[in-house]
Amino acid sequence: MCTGIAIAASELPVALVRQHRLLERVYARAGVEEFRFHWWQQPTLLPVRWDGRLELLPWGSKLRRGPLPYGGWVSVEHVAGGLFAGAHPEEVVIPANLGFQKGTWFLIVEGIKGVVIETRAGPVVYVLTEPSSNYYRNMTEQSPAMPLFVNQVI
């Protein structure tokens, strides 16, 4: 899995930063500012390139008994199997410079893949996953699943 991402501060439009009060999410890594989006943060958000625009969408669901799958990640296999049939699932790119899992920050070249679904409350994004490669498992303390990377093999 991937429980957080970081994106360079310069990559998010100022309007988006203001609209979502993202300044609380600014961190300085060795003095270089970046926005971090972690699963544990409230509200739980992810940047998404969707319909040609960069948007911030709610990330998954933290309701164990809600209408949506619990968590922020779904396997690509389940989605292909019809998990979100009827919710107009649409594959999107989650832009990021870095991913975070079990204490490891790893490089993301272009982004990771997500799926946006329509809900009554509006669109929600889930991170698409697949079984971890040996490399990813070792790097992230045996995480069984990893995100789908865009044009990158890990």
Partner: protein, 407 residues
Amino acid sequence: MSSSSLVGFGDADSFYASAETVRRPWLAGLPVGVLGNQGACVIARNYEMKKFGVKVGEPIWESKQKCPDGVYVKRDFRWYETLSRRMLAAVGTFSPKVEYYSIDEFFWEGHRAKGQGYRQTAHTIRDHIKRTVGLPMTVAIARTRTLAKLFADTAKPFGAVAVEDPDHETELLAKLPVTEIAGIAGRREARLAPHGIRTCLDLRNASGLLVRSLLTVTGHDLWRELNGYKTTPIRPDRPRHKMIARGGSLAGRVSDPNVLYGWLVRNLERLIEELQYHEVRPSTLTVALAYHDAEPASASAPLAVPSERFDVLLDAARAGLRACWRRGRTATHMHVIASGLRRGPWQLSLFDPPDPKLDAVAKVKREVNEALGRWKVRSGSTLWANGWYDDPANEHEVCDIRGKFCF
């Protein structure tokens, strides 16, 4: 090389990590660690990460405790080779004789740049590499290779020094522990200590006979270099290989003989590729296995006639694997080594009759792979090591970078 000329040495600072910053400038200033092919160990880190105490070879689960904001990157030897060759070409504009010593180290015949002294020349070369290749390099110019390498190590990172003055040389050598010399550590260090040899200056001032008795001819050569005598010339061309090996980690612990066989065939196909490139044929093939839970084992098989044919070498390799396989034990590393290398013209032999059919298959395999990419056509046995082929980063290893003297 004239005996009076100096030797230049350049060593890229934190090469792999710096190479990543060249193509991703936003990494500049961040602590960066490069992970090995298993994603488990830090094989290189930049100075920002080094400040946190992260060491090369350290497992990631330890390094991320020391440096929680560290950024981990996967190694990419294709890119590192590209930059390495750019550095080689850039250094070549300053000297007619350059030795490609390793992926990030170069020796050259030291000449003063026009209108400059050696110190200025060292600065000029360093700045030229940074400007044209984008990499930080430390440059040292001294009387010999050993001295230049030692002084470069003391000037890192992004240093540029020239040590021509003997007093300056003495002053620097006095500050350096003898273990700073590549090849002197552990037992060799322990042999020197009872004779009061603790610094590089102590070693330089010791009797040559004593050094030879303690450290053999190799140590004596180092002693000569410390005293300003050039023992190894600058070698613009790598001498012919005496042996060629391919192998390495098995991407985990392997006890399944089928998986081991898959790795054997993979390593053999890589080896044959290299034999064909160098136009040599081995007369002996050795298979070596390292185990997690048993002593390492190796077995050699002589070939009836030197050959680079897949079927002939596979028979020998199979026999080698059978001899060093330990049932129920888990292997971690494998090497297939070709030795007794012979160059053409080849004599036909009763033991190695021409096989036009196999030759044609080998030719097609080679041509397809040259046209479409490595391993597009490969032995079906490598399916046992299939996961390895899914990752393009595994197509090109550091040993695939030709022409250099060592890693």
